[in-house]
Subunit: 290 residues, 2 copies
């Protein structure tokens, strides 16, 4: 496994892969790897000749008062894991390698960036958009892999890839959860034991939403009220948002349909967590009048 | 020569070229071709296995009160010329092919877009940035060719290519002028005979700036005053801006150096024209004291 920190060196490795006509799978990460990331790496490994994992805590996607400086960094451990998974290249650039002096280009998913998480994280998604586009241009992957947990991120990335004709296939894999249902996240490391227990309310609320629609309750106001009840039972929880949205436009819907996404962000103590489910609504059997 | 209007068809042609490992030269245009464009096409032809010329009057780079609807369109004639030049592909998409419903991604060269032409053409350079990035992603050229006449455009494009690691070599070729010095531009078609004569003041002013610095007058305030004098002699001329700038940052300089660019925009009647020169300042011989 090659660990590369310089853009120029990365370009050379990619050129060699392209000359050999190797297909490339990319898993962009901020490190602090968990089983969620590894599910992406394993899928990438299955489907491509070569796998590149980027580890870059991207300053542009953190707000001024967010957790950039204390975001978990476990680089050596990450590399050990990735090496065991048979990853070919780890790209771990410094910030000045990605954003040299004079850098001034913004990539803005205009109708998507002020919705859901964008409201409380202004600038976050343009930070995501620009770094992902840079990684795509540098690594030229055939397929890039993302986790469903970061739902809005996946919508933004699909949008910019389509809008800019970036020519990368985006695959989104299911959220990986612990045995209690908590979505794996590098930020779970911030949680105390009590908070980790409180954090289960996110998934419990989502499960409740899913079961409501299966019983025919598709009015999203009612769904959200029920979810709020569940979350309010956790002492350390403060709701940022709960929303049922169209999975492409991220517009709120009034009546939930199959394929809509229930997304939420909740602060557990000082830790902001997100989670979501894609709704499946079984057709009700039509009862005969006779 | 293939004339292609659909993105999907273009992708297939490009895939074939890439499989053959053909190098690709791209000349992005808005049509209404003149010798300036053809100098780019000929250079592209010399240096690449295949040449793609895009003809797309990009609505995103026109302001609401600008000349999008009346911009000259001479498609059949353009194709005849390009066919004679041995161009391989003309890409002529419709606006909905480039910007389908839901399109919402902006690419913004933040510190460059509000300078020079950007002041009187808000939004112009983000329109240029997004269409050029799309063309680069679709066509994957080894080299893309632009004319020096659109100086700020070349600076913006170099910047976004560098910032986003787009991996395309940008070549900027000299401005082509008529026998009187008028820079060739599709918009010259708007000029009456009198206006065409008045329009010579742009280049005359630039020539004056160049000769001033060669005599040691590098104070840009003085240079601009002298240029204003020349332009004010043309009845139909209204100055938009005259500026001496650093060729990368586009910041105005107080004392001109070799490599700085004198750029101007002048309205001749209702037609806004631009032109520029790159300053060359010969070193003064150092006189001996003895």
């Amino acid at each position: 496994m090659q660990v590369i920190t310089a853009v120029q060196a990365l370009k050379q490795y990619i050129r060699v892969l392209k000359e050999r006509r190797s297909t490339i799978g990319l898993v962009p990460t901020m490190g602090a790897l968990h089983e969620g990331h590894l599910s992406l790496v394993r899928q990438a490994k299955k489907e491509n000749d070569a796998v590149v994992v980027s580890i870059f805590v991207n300053p542009l996607q953190f707000g001024k008062n967010e957790d950039f400086s204390r975001y978990p960094r476990t680089f050596d451990n990450d590399c050990n894991i990735l090496s065991q998974e048979g990853v070919n290249i780890v790209f771990n650039p410094g910030a000045s390698e990605m954003y040299p002096d004079g850098f001034c280009t913004a990539v803005i998913p205009e109708s998507l960036e002020d919705k859901l998480c964008g409201k409380s994280r202004p600038g976050h998604f343009r930070g995501v958009a620009v770094v992902v586009l840079k990684l795509f241009n540098l690594i030229q992957p055939d397929v890039a892999y993302f986790g469903q947990k970061d739902f809005q991120q996946t919508v933004v990335i699909r949008r910019i890839v389509s809008d800019l004709n970036a020519g990368v296939t985006i695959k989104v894999l299911p959220t990986i959860r612990d045995q209690n249902g908590l979505a794996l996240s590098s930020r779970n490391a911030y949680l105390s034991e009590t908070e980790r227990n409180d954090a289960l309310c996110l998934y419990q609320a989502l499960i409740r939403a899913q079961s409501l629609v299966k019983t025919g309750i598709v009015n999203t106001e009612e769904m959200v009220r029920e979810m709020e009840k569940i979350i309010s039972q956790s002492k350390s929880a403060t709701i940022d948002y709960i929303s049922v949205v169209n999975p492409e436009t991220l517009e709120s819907v009034q009546k939930a349909q199959s394929g809509d996404v229930v997304a939420l962000a909740v602060r557990i103590g000082k830790t902001r967590l997100i989670d979501n489910v894609i709704l499946t609504i079984y057709e009700q059997p039509i009862l005969s009048d006779t």
